[in-house]
């Protein structure tokens, strides 16, 4: 594979023309993507973690745009300029490679990829798992008081337990605003996945596993809760709305729950992080 100089005879300098088009396209498109599309990116600003995801998505999009344009502009440029004339039998130049271009390509893609991985790692650790399920012993834990909530998934509903409030169990999730929450996600039967879309939270619920995540809601709003791991026939119906409310409203609500649930609490099993279910055959 000999490296050869490009021929460049009596033709426009394609390399220069293509580079110019690509540079102009990137310079125009990247800011547009960052400033117009960026703020609209999911999942919005429902929590610190969600806001972080918006930033991450914007950064990734800003990095992906020039790459996308490089290949796209090149393909279009090549299709327009490097054609066989109708009925022609012309041969192209026998170029078999170019060591300089190949080396440059490898260096640049490696640099891009490594910086992406470094960025992702820093963001993941700095944001205490960035709202994702981080296993029973997360690597980083936020400081200060954390409101504990246990999310118990089963076919086909989520139940929420607040151990700090006497272990009251509700079928409906409410969280106080601006309070770091520590969620323990587990399952009673098959694998589910707890997904609070607007909060930027997702954690698989595995039987026998305590999957911990941290999230700090920053906006009083209604958020969607989905199951995002196929769990049987009513998987699509494992869907609910939760609420982020003011701390006062939360206190009122949780005490009300404690009163209503008091008779039921007597028969609930003792608090545990995980449950090892008996296998349920032929249920779904």
């Amino acid at each position: 594979m000999a490296a050869e100089p490009h021929p460049g005879v009596a033709e426009p300098n394609h390399a220069r023309r293509f580079t110019a088009i690509w540079l102009i396209a990137s310079v125009i498109a990247t800011p547009l993507v960052v400033f117009l599309l960026g703020p609209e990116l999911p999942p919005g600003h429902g929590s610190e973690q969600a806001s972080g995801h918006v930033t991450d998505n914007t950064v990734l999009l800003a990095m992906a745009t020039p790459v996308l344009l490089l290949v796209l502009v090149y393909l279009i440029y090549a299709v327009i300029n490097f054609r066989q004339p109708p009925g022609g039998m012309l041969e192209g130049p026998a170029i078999r490679g170019d060591a300089r271009i190949q080396t440059t390509w490898i260096v640049i893609t490696s640099a891009l990829v490594l910086s992406l991985a470094a960025y992702g790692t820093v963001r993941l650790l700095a944001d205490n798992g960035a709202g994702s399920g981080s296993g029973p012993t997360p690597l980083t834990v936020p400081k200060g008081h954390k409101l504990q909530v246990q999310v118990i998934a089963q076919q086909w509903a989520f139940t929420y337990r607040y151990p700090e409030y006497g272990g009251v169990e509700t079928t409906h999730l409410e969280l106080p605003v601006n309070q770091m929450v520590e969620m323990h996600v587990t399952s009673l039967d098959v694998i589910h996945s707890f997904w609070a879309y607007q909060l930027g939270v997702k954690a698989d619920a595995n039987p026998g596993v305590d999957n911990v995540l941290f999230v700090k809601p920053t906006k009083e709003e209604t958020f969607e809760v989905h199951c995002s791991e196929l769990c049987g026939i009513w998987h699509g119906y494992m869907f609910d709305h939760g609420h982020v409310v003011s701390p006062q409203a939360f206190e009122t609500w949780i005490h009300q729950q404690e009163t209503t649930m008091a008779p039921a609490k007597k028969v609930l099993p003792p608090y545990a992080h995980t449950y090892s279910p008996e296998p349920t055959r032929r249920a779904g």
Binding site: L124, A130, G133, L230, G236
Partner: protein
Amino acid sequence: MSTTAAAASTPRPVGRPRWRRLLGFNLLSAVILGIAGYYLGWFIGHRISTTKSFEFFSATDENDIALLLAYIFGVVGFLIGLGFANYPVSRMLGRPASLREKEQHGIGRYFGLCTDHKVVGIQYLVGIGLFFFIGGLNAMLIRTELLKSSPTFVGPNQYLSLVGMHGTMMMGMMTSGILGPFANYFVPIMIGARRMAFPRIEALTFWLLMAAGFILTSTIFFGGFPTGWTGYEPLNDQAVMGMDSYIVFFALVGISMCLLGLNMMATIITMRAPGLTWSRLPIFVWSVFATSVLMVLAAPMLVATLAMAALDRSIDTSFFVTGGGGSSYLFENLFWFFGHPEVYILAVPGFGIVLELIPVFTRKPLWGYRLAVSGMLGVTLLSFFVWQHHLFVSGINADLRPFYMLSTEIISIPTGFIFLCVMGTLWKARTSFSTPMLFCLGWAFNFLIGGLSGVFLSDTPSDTDTHGSFFVMAHFHYTIMGGLIFTFFAAIYYWVPKMTGLRFNERLSKIHFWSMFLAFNSTFMPLFVLGMEGMPRRVSFYEPKLHTLNVWVSISAFVLGLSMLVFLANTVYSLIFVRIKAESNPWRSKSLEWQVPTPVPVNNFEQIPIFDSDPYDYGTPVAIGGGQPAAVGA
């Protein structure tokens, strides 16, 4: 090593009565023995489980032991009926070895055990095509259901079965989508061999796959299965008997895949013609080699995992059931250790097709041959180090997520090599836009979108939003359908004229490409948006605010389905009704398979060719030391 004499002796005597020909080892006896084996297994299974130790059998009338045994015995009977036992038995009885005893002439050879790699290639193309259309039909039904935001068309159980069958059929069958038809047919010719290394195993891989396809389809008689193609435990353990169809299907596919890979590796390593050094190997053969490595290393993991799942279901072992000391993580780990190489088993042959075809249509040598090879081998190696990115939010081994993020992103470096080689080959080319070339360019666009959307999934914080949503669905349809299926069609339009000697109607081919390309993008581009707006995968119930976009996607999907009908119409019209003879080398290719006569003789070559260059001697020399235009090969 010529076996012409043996081949000529096989046609049956002409005067034999028709009924007499029905006896013996053929598809009919295979079906009869298959059914007999099925009922034998069913009977034995019920004898075994009459003891009361398996409570759920008596409670539910469901007997996994019986069904699993029925499937296994059925497959064995089917294979014996086809004649796969004849050769080993005759060898054990001390009869002499023969190489090509099942080589026949006439149309009948396509319906039985045949060891001619060209026959197997065409068998694969038709057989896989059949199941590809069944899988596609499932997709149409899924999209019909999603026209409404709550289930109306089918019940939730049938919906999940459709999703599972679509995914499993495509992921299982299409793993051999390019290796089955095109590698079996063309790799021996491209490397100057007269046959594959193991011709009987080659036939076996095909018939295993067909048996598997029918077993998966039979799941509808046993209640379907609710797990999708991933078959996660413990849902797998909980499911009704239809789940056993999934298990046996995928296990058979795994065995077929592994044997196919071994056969390809053995052929490519040992049977290359003189002068065909590794650095002269056609790039398609390299991609087949890389894929074979993946198949051989990954598929056994799948078979083992499914064997465990089958034992869990039938005799209550507890590999994956938490209550009995097992772990659902174990299944996820094992499955994705196979599952991620699997998606590269689907993608890498596509790379090979694109890189093989583009030089022909641009009239240029392949740009960066070694880079392309290292790209494919790099992908092969790295694909074994990324599987836990499927489990970023599962809580498994969470401290290692930065590593899997890194390895996943690193794999885009060798993938980028493939793009650079495509772009380099297009530089100052003389491109003619025939249908195969259009499909290759379609691949470039689709795989670009697929690859870049993968960046969002490889980044753990960003993956928290997109994981398990329609975004993932769109991503892997861009890489698999946009990557594999587009190149699959490129290969069909490029090579079927060689395989059949007949030409496709050019206008219908172009209509097929454009309708497929536009409908494909119109179907899957909005799915990125749906995923980002919070639609989980595999639901038949979704929020009304996403309704409009879903209707758009469904309509586009129907157009995509229609584009497949255009292809079918084109095939029937061009290859059955019009039958215009193709030129002997319509693309003016310099590759060896276009230099042998059409139809390809049984032994491919009169004399084994001697290679003195790679098959990319296109173009005019541009500078000192440029490529020398020379006739290739023989």
